[in-house]
Each structure stands twice: as C-alpha cells, then as structure tokens.
Subunit: 309 residues, 2 copies
C-alpha cells in the first residue's frame, strides 16, 4: 500500500467530441481540471459514461496522453482499461500503469455471455501477469446491466487470494443496495475498496465502510457530492443526500449520458458538449429544454467549465 | 448486384492460437483451405465462433492479410467487422472491402444495452458513409443472446430504404424458427439474403427462400452440411437434416466453441487446436474424451485438416 488510494467522489469523465465525432482533447482536459477544482477525488476516465467502448484503443491512448500533457496528475486517474480482447486490455493497462496512474477500472471481457468464473479469473490472471507491473491496482467494474458478466463474491475472493497486491477494489454499478451491503460486509476494512456506482448510495455506503462513489452525475454535480463525502457524519448528512437524490432523479429520467452532456452544453452555452457517438443519440430540443427547466427548478448549480476554445 | 453473392454453407472460422495465445496464421489458413475444399460456400472469418472480439483490431487485420497472402480468394470471404467503436468498425470494414471481400458480417455496437433503433441506424449510416466504397455489402449479424441489441424488421427496412446497395442480408442467430420465418416472409426474393445461424434450420430456411446457413459446426462438419444444401429438394433431404441435427446436438451439449476446437484437435492429433483465449475455457480431458466417443458413435467423419506444421 505504498501508493495513495483514491477516495471520495470519482467522475467517469464524459468524452467530448468534435464535429466529425473525433475525441476533443482540449475540452476533455478542461473538464477534468474543473472536476478536480470542484473537489472530485479522482477521474475515472474511459468508463461507461465516457463512451470509452465507442472509442478505438488508439483514440483512448491519445486522449490519455493529452491529459498527461495538460498536467492532469496521474495520482488522480483511474482509467477504464477492460476490453473484450485480452491483448487490448493488456496494452491499455500497461500504458496507463506505466504513467503511474493510481488505479485502473476494469470491465470483464463483455462480448461472451454466460462465461464461467474460471474464464473471468483466467482473463484477469493473464492481464496481471502480462502487465507485470507492481504499481498495478485494479478496481473491478461490476455493471451487469451492460457487461452481463458479474463479479461474484467468491470470484473476488479468488482474485484477492491470487493477486492481493493488484486487486484493489470494486465499482458496484448494480444499483442494488443489498448487493452493495454484501460487498461492504465481505470486504470493508480489508484494504479492498468498495465504491457504489451512484451517489444515491453514497451515504449508505459510507456508513458501512464504503470508499466514496464513482458516479456519472459527478460530471455535473461534483461539488455537492464531494460536500456530502466530506460531511457524512454531520447532522445534515441525510438532507444533503436527499438533495443529491433529487438532482440525480431529474437527470436520469432522461437517457443518462446524453442528459449529462446536454446539461454541460446548456450551462456553458457551448453546444459541442452535447455530441455523442452512435449508438447513443443526443437529447432532442424539447428534452433539452425540459431537463434544463427541471434542474433550474431545483436551484441546481450549473457546471461552469472554462473551455479553452 | 454486379458482385457474386455468397450462398450455401458458411463457416464462422475458428481462430487457432499459438502457445502464448497469439493468433496462428498458418493453421488458420490451412483450416480455411480445408473448409473450401469440403464445399463451404464461404468463410465468415472473425465471427463469434472465431473469438474475434477477443482479438485486437491489429490482430484481425494481420490474420486477414495472412489469409490473402495464402491465396484464400476474397470472393469467398465475409469477415466480421462490427465493433463497439465506430472508428474500429470503419477501419476494419474499409480494410476488407478494399481487398474486395464478398461481404462483411456486422454486429451492432454491443456494449450499450437498450439503445434506440435510431442509434443503431445512425451507427450503420456513419459506417457506410465513412467507408464510402460501392463494393460494400453488409450482412447484419442478429445474435441477441450475445449482442443484446437486435435488428428488428422495421430497422432492417429502414436500412434497406436508405442504403439499398450496401445492405445485403442477415445472419439470424436467434435460433428461433418463428423469427427466421418472419425474416424470410418479409425479405426472401427481394435480394436481401437470409442465413439462419445454425444448420439445424438449414432445410426449413431453404424451403422458404433462405440463402444457406452460417454455422459454427460448419467448422467440423462442412461436407455433410454442404451436401444437404446441394440436395435439399431430394427425397433424402429430411433424413440428411436429421443426420446434421444429431451431430450438432452432440457438439453443442458442450460449450460450443471449445467443443469445436477440441474436435479438430482430436481429429488431427494436434492439441494446439484446442486453445481458446479467455474468457473462454478449454474442455477438460474428460469432456474431450466424452465428446470424441459420442461423435464416433454417430460415425461422424472427423475433420482431416492438413496442417502445414
């Protein structure tokens, strides 16, 4: 445990696109800087919300290198590096670990469904051994609604037994409070960090040993989420959680990733932020107006990212 | 319709691996040659059975180039080129269409679930326009049990209306006879070719205008499947179909891809054929022996691929 562990609120950073849908490194770095300024504990770039699987490996590596060149500290980065192909996961993980990232958030190979736990174990074993870097800290990415391939508690235990130095924690995006609680009961205090995948479970998680949260809406609401993280033992904690829930509920009533991008586009007056890659689709104008009005009604503090454009 | 259309039995060619799990181009080309010699109408390289999504894009391109150099005719090739990332699908499709492949078999982007038909349409529209090659012939790859993203009949109609030259057909791997029949009723005779994804539905398909089949077990049983394709109007057709079904049923009682590879390893006495990339797992020795014994009991003609090793 020589490296500092990531804690608190991590945003799976959205990926802005240029007109031709090429990744927009300058807006990306500006957004990362703003998130850290707002109190984000770390940046889970290349996650689901980042549309990372809609980017080629070269595009991800180029964006990562752009962030590094822009001065975003690797000690605050937890890039997503789990791909369908073993060789892709190895190449991307090796690249970011070589740059001393604090950790990586790793999907299981997600094309084949109904694979055995042996197969998933073998996949992680191959990656860990091929990367072969003692700095590697893997956070398992449990998101069965997308990957369809779960990390069960016995599988996590098997990975921890085989690779205690490399297996560092989990993002639980199941959204199931009972599953989160089972993970916390099994692992909290053991040095295996459990992050719920939404701020809706932030307080519940912290009360049972959670490490924070890694949450899509952290892209637009990082300050108030970080504030609850810092004050979760205070008398206002439940009220703060209720405030976060109201914002989350409003945004996720729309398709989540386009709604987050539309919120930033609205706040900055810069329509470029709205762009998504297929198969996602932008919100239409009526949805955008409705979302903005609903957030205004909540006195939501709009994200003010100073774009370098 | 200036290009000859692929018809008959297509095998989604398995990808052999070397000891370090690198793709084995020499065994791959030898297997492709054997399949064509046995009467396969075409080679659907880089499909689900090929573990294509477990290969990096560079590995797929290198394998493809190896096949071309080995003299496998592009007019018999239907490579899988649908990736999660738009830019990957474009790069791979452009590469194989540039080499004059007869067609491409294209998965929808498969990471995000519950995406809109608009999003899938937009994905194909971007790929077709970016590839920008009049030789492009796309076969839609409907395999909801893996991709979770279906091609509905209205979506197919929308694609055909927008890109009548580029949208050439579908592989229906749903395994649902009613779905196959609905596709055939909607499209057979229109120049949109419907291939069931298993030889179990070959005869049923041919009787209603199907174009053949694209089937995993075509890797080990191509001759008898091609024989039924050639004689489907004969008096023996139902008996031939029953023979194919017995073999298929025997093999798919085991994990399908490892079982196909184990069958070739057994037949050739070359254990290297058994290797799979994680998250798949090889059959264990007991399973291998059981499968071989069951196939022997069916008088199954073991595949005799002359390896150049």
């Amino acid at each position: 445990m020589d490296q500092a562990r990531l804690k608190g609120v991590l945003a799976p950073v959205i990926t802005p696109f240029q007109k031709d849908l090429a990744p927009d490194g300058a807006r990306f770095a500006a957004h990362c800087r703003w998130l850290l300024d707002q109190g984000a504990g770390g940046l889970a770039v290349f996650g689901t919300t980042s549309e990372a699987n809609s980017l080629s490996l070269d595009e991800r590596i180029e964006l990562f290198d752009h962030l590094r060149a822009a001065g975003i500290p690797p000690a605050r980065l937890m890039p997503g590096t789990g791909c369908c192909a073993l060789t892709d996961s190895v190449r991307l993980t090796r690249h970011v670990v070589g740059a001393s990232c604090a950790g990586v958030l790793m999907l299981p190979p997600f094309y084949y469904k109904g694979v055995s736990e042996d197969g998933v174990f073998r996949s992680f074993a191959e990656i860990i051994e091929r990367v072969g870097d003692p700095r590697l800290r893997i956070y398992l990415y449990h998101i069965p609604q997308m990957s369809q391939v779960p990390f069960t508690i016995p599988l996590i235990e098997r990975l921890l037994t085989a690779y205690p130095g490399a297996i560092a924690g989990i993002k639980d995006s199941s959204g199931d409070p009972a599953h989160l609680r089972a993970l916390l009961d099994a692992f909290s205090g053991s040095g295996f960090d459990v992050f719920p995948g939404s701020e809706v479970l932030l307080l519940e998680g912290l009360r049972h040993g959670g490490a924070g949260c890694i949450t899509a809406t952290g892209n637009v609401n990082p300050g108030p989420i970080a504030h609850l993280y810092a004050h979760w033992r205070s008398a206002e904690a439940d009220a703060l959680q209720a405030g976060l829930d109201a914002v989350r509920k409003t945004i996720q009533a729309f398709p989540l990733i386009p709604a987050i991008k539309a919120t930033i586009a609205h706040a900055t007056g810069d329509a470029a932020w709205s762009r998504v890659r297929p198969p996602l689709v932008e919100l239409d104008d009526a949805q955008k107006a409705q979302l903005a009005a609903q957030l205004r009604a909540l006195d939501f503090q709009m994200p003010q990212i100073s774009s370098s454009h």
